[in-house]
Symmetry: C2
Subunit: 186 residues, 2 copies
DNA sequence: AATTACAAACCGACTATATGGTATCTAATA
DNA sequence: TATTAGATACCATATAGTCGGTTTGTAATT
């Protein structure tokens, strides 16, 4: 990336570098690209340095998951604040967080979740239970068919976007977004 | 599975055994479980025998993809025949093929696609272009927002089902299915 | 202020092993 | 007899993880 020399001895920054490197490795080369050596190379750190912070590959996977999930949570929280509808507030925010091109790196980072689920099935369980908790939390506003459709469509767009399918074309995405949001006005 | 001795010298059957074994390996152990040794073990064939039929891991991936895709195509074709609506006939069939519990092994096999996409990104491209071709083929009936929503929701259910999320619970799935199909009656 | 003591960050060579792939052989079938 | 299916043994290498060491920051002690 940048060829400015890296400030060492800043563990917080180093960890972020590593997680970002892992994210990009997956995006560029698929899950097989996520080797310790490759991540270390991209983060411009030694393998020893990498393993100092994340003591195994599994630990790295989990850290990456936590990192991405907290990022998503943050985005959702902001969107709920910005648009505090009563009806389906969580599902709408979820949709926008996952699919709205305005959210930063929406088209790259998000897809990494699926890759992580594929390599480490228990992360899928953690995702499922996270979502379950959110559903309980927002039961009053988001426990009905239309909200469910919204979330499912979001997941579909998410997936479609990851594989770069026809439905991820901007025109089609806007089309769908409009259609779904209109459902709430009738 | 069954402990009846395997009839040897039946290459067609052997190939199916191998592909099914690969499918189950992925389902049980994630993409890392898809090693040549593991697949051979499950298919109760030697590694040499396996590599006789599929000369490399990549070839195996592609064969598995083709296998699953042609299965999906078949199911979709049947559903279109059985329910030859004019409006969104493809998208409806797609939805049912992916999500309807009546289609065989819907809850297991389908998720394998995602795993394959994660290990071999060009398979994702092939999927995308397959879908693109279908969209051209069915443009007259399926090129509108509502049909797109149907397909996206199907993908979402697909994904949710793979990770066993809350939206994959039967009650919720039926709920959503009813809701979506009612859209076509108004 | 200088020194000492300790811990945390980081390095890079090394090892063990899992795994993809090859080479060669046997047996069945046509 | 030629070809295909399949088995067995083996090889090469990628890669996860170990380990001993070095550097740098920090805080107490003198």
């Amino acid at each position: 990336m940048s060829d400015t020399p890296i400030k060492r001895r800043q563990p917080k920054i180093m960890r972020k570098r590593i997680l970002d490197a892992a994210t990009e490795a997956i995006i560029d080369e698929g899950v097989d690209g996520l080797t310790l050596d490759e991540v270390a190379r991209r983060a411009e750190v030694s393998k020893g340095g990498l393993l100092h912070h994340y003591s195994s590959k599994q630990v790295l996977h989990e850290a990456l998951f936590d990192y991405l999930l907290s990022d998503l949570e943050e985005t959702i929280a902001e969107l709920i604040d910005a648009n505090p509808h009563t009806l389906a507030r969580f599902s709408l925010a979820y949709f926008d967080a996952v699919c709205n091109p305005n959210t930063p790196d929406y088209d790259k980072k998000r897809g990494v979740f699926f890759a992580l689920f594929a390599v480490q099935p228990e992360l899928a369980e953690r995702w499922a239970s996270w979502l379950q908790d959110r559903m309980v939390e927002h039961a009053a506003t988001d426990d009905h068919a239309m909200a469910r459709v919204l979330r499912l469509a979001a997941d579909g767009l998410w997936a479609s976007n990851m594989i770069d399918g026809p439905d991820s074309e901007p025109a089609n995405r806007e089309d769908v977004t409009l259609f779904l949001k209109n459902l709430f006005r009738s």
